[in-house]
Assembly symmetry: C2
Homo-oligomer: 243 residues x 2
């Protein structure tokens, strides 16, 4: 059936010829980004060196904004279609880093994820509480509050960062929350982000009696595992991976 085996090759050639040549490195980095965002490539340590420019343009440009908005718009469409019991038990989980606030100002000075994170410099940056809000997430946050849904921030940051985290969130417009959950020092150090977050979500539902209506994060570890919520939303993040 040779006629079929050459089908794709011919089509691709014809289309490429009629649309001019693509930047080969950009299209490879787009493929890498797709593979990362759809949870195909896991456990990666740094962004491929050849994708530094691509990821930089993406994070600083309109596409990252548009991609984020496509996700938060869908979250809003979903939640707005629900008939929720008005019993004060409805919550929405927000991750913090690269979901509620952004470290692009930091990563833009450090190769957009192509370099291993320098912890000293990163802690210095976080300690300033100056990370800007993700505009689309902030808008979703405000809309959820207007529906009477309570917000819980759930972050893998250590408990010692509570004050810094709360200050940063408030600084950029996240003025209120039901809970701000950080990782207690008593929590096993070898536990993954996914197991820590799953366990905290289980407690929210089983102990506190909340109903997790939605759950948004930039890492698959934020939105997988048990008690993940009725719907989950994955924001883009091609800069780093949390196991």
């Amino acid at each position: 059936m040779k006629v079929f085996s050459v089908f794709f090759f011919l089509l691709a050639t014809v289309v490429a010829a009629s649309h001019g040549s693509q930047d080969s490195s950009d299209s490879s980095c787009l493929s890498w980004r797709f593979a990362v965002e759809a949870n195909n490539i896991r456990g990666w340590k740094t962004v491929p060196k050849e994708c530094e420019k691509y990821v930089g343009h993406y994070m600083l440009g309109y596409q990252y904004r548009k991609d984020s908005k496509a996700v938060t718009d869908e979250a809003w469409r979903y939640v707005n279609s629900l008939k929720l019991p008005r019993d004060g038990r409805n919550i929405w989980i927000f991750d913090v880093d690269e979901t509620s606030i952004s470290h692009v100002p930091f990563f833009s000075k450090h190769g957009f994820g192509t370099e291993p994170i320098n912890k000293t410099l990163a802690y210095e940056w976080v300690n300033k509480s100056k990370a800007p809000a993700l505009p689309e997430s902030l808008e979703l946050y405000r809309k959820l509050l207007s529906l009477g849904i309570k917000v819980v921030f759930l972050t893998g940051r250590d408990e010692e960062w509570r004050k810094v985290s709360a200050t940063n969130l408030k600084n950029v417009g996240y003025h209120t929350w039901e809970q701000l959950i950080l990782r207690a020092s008593s929590y096993p150090t070898n536990a993954t982000v996914e197991s820590f977050k799953s366990n905290e979500k289980r407690k929210l539902e089983e102990i506190y009696g909340y109903r997790i209506i939605g759950n948004i994060g930039d890492q698959w570890a934020d939105i997988q595992g048990i008690h993940r919520g009725n719907r989950t939303f994955k924001l883009p993040n091609p800069m780093y991976y949390a196991p």
Copy 2:
């Protein structure tokens, strides 16, 4: 903290100015595609009309090939790193439509997913057994066989399509398999693809004693649920959604 709230707007403006204007519809369709592939937009019926050209170029061009290869390359890296017991129990699950074989020749004549699928015409097309192989999936299939891993095809197609499906798979190079599982007519008609496939995967592990090493499909329904396998791989498909 106004200085932060305008951060992204300014950056986006500067970057856009220095890189020329983007095709706004293409970038919106790329956002839609990202939202679909990362499982944010679910249960959609047709591709947005304004994305017909975008999806057509994508499916016929190099990007679809590259995106598929990024996924199958990662699958190969993963499986090649394993030390598998040589007991004949290792299997890899392949979905059929848009994973092993492609219906681009059909969809290219029907608006690339922007039109509701005409079942009469679609059945006519499938009945011909002439869908070409996805080249990257066929290559992965061959490499898995060379490692001694057995392949199971698991499809939501009805049992009555067994002969047509087997003929098509063999025609394009999938010469052998451990099982080809279709949806028996006794299976509840209101059951989702995810529940049907999860149940079949459970049987493969619990009744037949296989070990699902990997699982590849173009729909989230292929790779979610129970007994999904040690690793799952999501191929792109911006043409249709299986609930």
